[in-house]
């Protein structure tokens, strides 16, 4: 029986942190099963607390025995180390702290860290090319660009979408920013922009995260900014539905389902030129704004939308048209095809 089965290798954090990746696995497995493929999720625990722990995680993936599966789909670092003749990778991301976030995370790296970085580059590059991996798909242009830049590898973009359903469009009342409260999401940029926003436009922020206290402190004096904490899926959909605009300005984001979810709710998205994937989805002044990462620039656009709700509506419709066609079914059929099914 299991000769027909496809293994999806997932990587879960040792500290139990959950995020977009868990939703991703859920969506992928669900889509593969709906396409008629028997699928099993193999979870590898990843400890990134030290370089030694990272080495062990790489080794654990390398030593996985999946020979009795028909094919293997690996996902994020370092699941693609797995050895299997019929192996494709649908890459979420490599370990970002060694790649594009290296300079940010280690301002003064030193020789040891540089060596470790080279080691990770060499391992990833060797593992993500033939014959170790038959084909590499990536979740967006940002990851594709990074893979070409750091590893010199070609890949194909395969867009995925949210697993949430039931998005609708209500009124246009406030700016809404959902997601993990982490410095890489640059929530502080929006909070600072609010200082220059003259309209009585509320900013609702949902979600929790490691930098929550800092953001709350930053927003303490502005009564228009409201932190909602963790919200349910139903609440999330409702919050999107009545937003005027979704300002989403992360640093070089890989994917950002927020953009897709906002567009599915027919809302314009405001993002920045250096925000990564969202900047590929948003077309400036068509379905939102792509502006420099400056509080003043963002504020001017928020004020503009507040005074021009009809424009916001029109932009939201354009956004919907841009993402409507993205379906999990396409992801599943493409992956299965490249596995020879």
């Amino acid at each position: 029986m299991s000769e027909e089965t496809i293994a999806v290798v997932a990587v879960s954090a040792a500290n139990g942190a959950k995020g977009g990746a868990e939703r991703f696995y859920e969506g992928l497995i669900d889509a593969l099963e709906r396409a008629g493929a028997k699928t099993e999720l193999i979870e590898v625990t990843s400890d990134e607390s030290s370089f030694e722990a990272i080495q062990e995680t790489y080794l654990r993936c390398y030593d996985l025995d999946l020979s009795h599966y028909y094919g293997v789909i690996s996902t994020k670092a370092p699941s693609y180390l797995v050895r299997h003749p019929n192996h494709v990778c649908y890459l979420l991301h490599t370990m970002r702290s060694f790649y594009d976030m290296f300079e940010t995370e280690f301002p003064a790296p030193g020789e040891v860290l540089d060596k470790q970085r080279d080691m990770i580059f060499a391992l990833d590059t060797a593992a993500l090319r033939r014959p170790h991996t038959k084909k590499v798909y990536v979740i967006g242009k940002e990851v594709q660009k990074r893979l070409a830049h750091y590893n010199g590898l070609d890949s194909e973009v395969l867009h995925l979408t949210t697993t949430l359903q039931g998005f609708y469009c209500g009124e246009f009342r406030y700016a809404f920013l959902p997601g993990r409260l982490h410095r890489w999401k640059r929530v502080d940029l929006i909070i600072e922009a609010m200082r220059d926003v003259k309209s009585p436009l509320p900013l609702l922020i949902s979600g929790v995260g490691e930098d929550e206290a800092y953001f709350r402190e930053l927003a303490r004096t502005d009564k228009r900014i409201i932190f909602l904490g963790r919200v349910s899926d139903a609440q999330l959909i409702q919050l999107y539905a009545n937003a005027l605009v979704v300002p989403f300005v992360p640093v070089r984001e890989d994917l950002g389902l927020v953009t897709l979810e906002a567009f599915l709710s027919r809302k314009p998205v405001l993002t920045c030129v250096d925000s990564g994937e969202p900047a590929h989805f948003v077309t400036d002044r068509s379905n939102g704004f792509v502006c420099p990462p400056e509080p003043g620039e963002i504020a001017a656009r928020l004020d503009f939308l507040y005074q021009n709700v009809d424009t916001a509506k029109r932009m939201g419709e354009c956004g919907y048209a841009a993402v409507e066609h993205i379906k999990w079914e396409t992801v599943a059929s493409t992956l299965l095809q490249s596995l020879g099914r």
Binding site: E52, M119, C169, R173, L204, A241, F304
Partner: protein, 558 residues
């Protein structure tokens, strides 16, 4: 193919290198934990690792043919038991035996001699025939201690005979302990000393930090974001010069000003309009709003044009049919009926603009599904009819919940749109529609935002006819704007020019009860959301301004 193989080998090489590193690290960790680890893990006696001080020395134990008893006695605790097994039985101690001897040894129930003897003179020990010099006699003497009464004398005799040796041992022991104590004291004073230096270092760091905190408070004015502060703090720590720091910050501020200036300059097309010139900005805004207004108007025009065309065609057809023979008089009622529909397309556009989006209305109406399901209506034999179904959100919602529903509306544009969507809708006046129906036909009748368009006379007709065609226990749901909210009562209600007059809920409740409905319930709905309210307005005023903007009445046929 060849290069591919080389690459694969390279990956293999890398991974094997990592494997070697990981393994050697693990081995080191194991060693650090001590050789007792395996047994301890099995027995779960984690704490005993520290008792077995012989942990290191037992590695030096050498297995040989002949032993002196002192070869074993020099070990203590767990190491003693392990070595006794290795030496006498030539194997590792099994777990139950290990726990048994270890427990007895700790409790003082068995001496080392006794354990050695028991091992040596067990069946297994006799078979192995390991030679332990000096064991036999001592073992026999130790065993004799355990014989009642005689044991006492035996212990006494051995004690007296051993007295000189014991005294000597005590002296040796004493000097050993003293030298150990001296060593410990030296170590302790060293630790105290290093702790003191640590404390003074920590004090320095704290003082340093406090100083930095005061500077960073000043920096807050200059640098607006966290990482910039960190950078500045670092350079401050390096140079320890406050003037330098201020200069740096000033330069930073200048630079960011320059940068933003430059970026503004760079983006001339749109950002200029938005940021630099207020006049230009409003011009752009005006253009935007004109454009969208224009587009909406265009859309509306198209809709009413299509409508007019169609009506004209119908009239022409009528005229053509009636050419010759008939007098033009019979066309008059038809013409008049068509005139009633002239404003239909306008009203659709109106609803699109003011009533709220379809999705949201559907969301609000979801609460009634529960009422219908509880009343067990919506099946083939107790269908629901929606009077004034408008854009059909409610019909769709019922259909999604597998309820049998049909709708009537006078607005032909809407009716045709809904029919195209596959919904069962007819264009008819509710008065004639209901009068044509047999009594006890419907399980439920719903009337959303219609009664405010009716005169009192027509409202009474609606209530009476609905009661007649409802089955016993059938449900009536009526929703209308709530004038209890003064904004609704004074303004919002009149935004729709086809509204007649607002109906407060007590009025409606009285009318419905008076016409024979029972179990009346009023639901206050759709208050202004929290974040749209002005702060500081509470109590009755809050209720008046931000309270329910709609209400619904639910009643039943007895």
């Amino acid at each position: 193919m060849k290069t591919n193989n080389i690459l694969e080998i390279r990956l293999e090489e890398l991974m094997e290198k990592i494997r070697a590193e990981v393994n050697s690290r693990k081995a080191q960790q194991l060693e650090a934990l001590g050789a007792e680890k395996d047994l301890d893990e099995l027995a779960g006696f984690e704490s005993e690792r520290y008792d077995s001080s012989g942990g290191d020395t037992d590695a030096r134990f050498v297995v040989k043919q002949q032993y002196h008893i002192n070869d074993f006695l020099q070990y203590h605790g767990a190491a003693f038991i392990k070595n006794a097994y290795r030496g006498i039985l030539g194997r590792e101690a099994d777990l139950p035996a290990y726990i048994y001897y270890w427990g007895n040894l700790k409790a003082g129930k068995m001496s080392k001699i006794e354990i050695l003897g028991r091992l040596r003179f067990s069946a297994e020990g006799r078979a192995k025939r390991a030679h332990v010099h000096g064991l036999w006699l001592r073992f026999v003497v130790h065993l004799s201690f355990k014989i009642p009464i005689l044991g006492y004398f035996s212990r006494l005799a051995v004690g007296v005979a051993n007295l000189p040796t014991l005294i000597k041992n005590i002296e040796v022991n004493d000097s050993y302990v003293r030298s150990h104590l001296a060593g410990l004291q030296a170590q302790l004073s060293q630790i105290t000393k290093s702790m003191q230096t640590n404390i003074s270092e920590i004090k320095e760091i704290v003082a340093d930090l406090q100083m930095k905190n005061s500077t960073s408070a000043q920096l807050d004015f200059l640098a607006s974001n966290k990482w910039k502060i960190n950078e500045l703090e670092q350079s401050a720590a390096n140079k320890a010069d406050r003037i330098e720091l201020k200069k740096l910050a000033a330069v930073k501020a200048d630079r960011s000003e320059l940068e933003s200036f430059a970026s503004r300059k760079a983006d001339i097309s749109f950002v200029d309009h938005l940021n630099d010139s207020k006049a230009d900005r409003s011009e752009v805004q005006d253009l935007f709003s004109h454009l969208t207004d224009g587009m909406r108007q265009l859309h509306d025009f198209r809709r009413s044009l299509v409508d007019q065309e169609r009506r004209l065609r119908i009239l022409l057809e009528e005229v053509r049919k009636n050419v010759g023979g008939h007098t033009p008089e019979i066309l008059i009622p038809k013409l008049e009926a068509e005139r009633d529909h002239l404003l239909d397309a306008l009203y659709v556009s109106f609803e699109d603009r003011f009533r709220g989006t379809s999705a949201e209305i559907k969301e609000r109406q979801r609460i009634y599904i529960d009422y219908l399901q509880r009343s067990k209506v919506g099946s083939i034999d107790s269908p629901i009819v929606d009077i004034g179904c408008g854009r059909g959100e409610w019909l769709e919602l019922c259909k999604e919940n597998n309820l049998i529903v049909s709708g009537i509306d006078l607005n032909r544009s809407m009716v045709e749109e809904l029919q195209q969507m596959g919904l069962e809708v007819i264009e008819e006046d509710f008065v004639s529609y209901l009068r044509d129906k047999n009594p006890n036909t419907f399980g439920g009748i719903t009337v959303f935002h219609l009664i405010e368009h009716l005169t009192l006379e027509n409202l009474i007709i609606l209530l009476d006819e609905a009661l007649r065609v409802l089955k016993p226990n059938g449900i009536l749901i009526v929703e209308t704007p709530n004038p209890d909210n003064i904004i609704v009562g004074s303004r919002s209600f009149y935004i729709d020019p086809t509204h007649v007059k607002p109906i407060p809920s007590p009025t409606l409740q009285y009318l419905v009860e008076a016409r024979g409905y029972v179990n009346i319930e009023i639901l206050n709905l759709n208050p202004v959301p929290e974040y749209e309210r002005e702060e500081g307005i509470t109590g009755k005023l809050c209720e008046l301004l931000y309270g329910a903007r709609d209400y619904s009445l639910i009643g039943y046929k007895p």
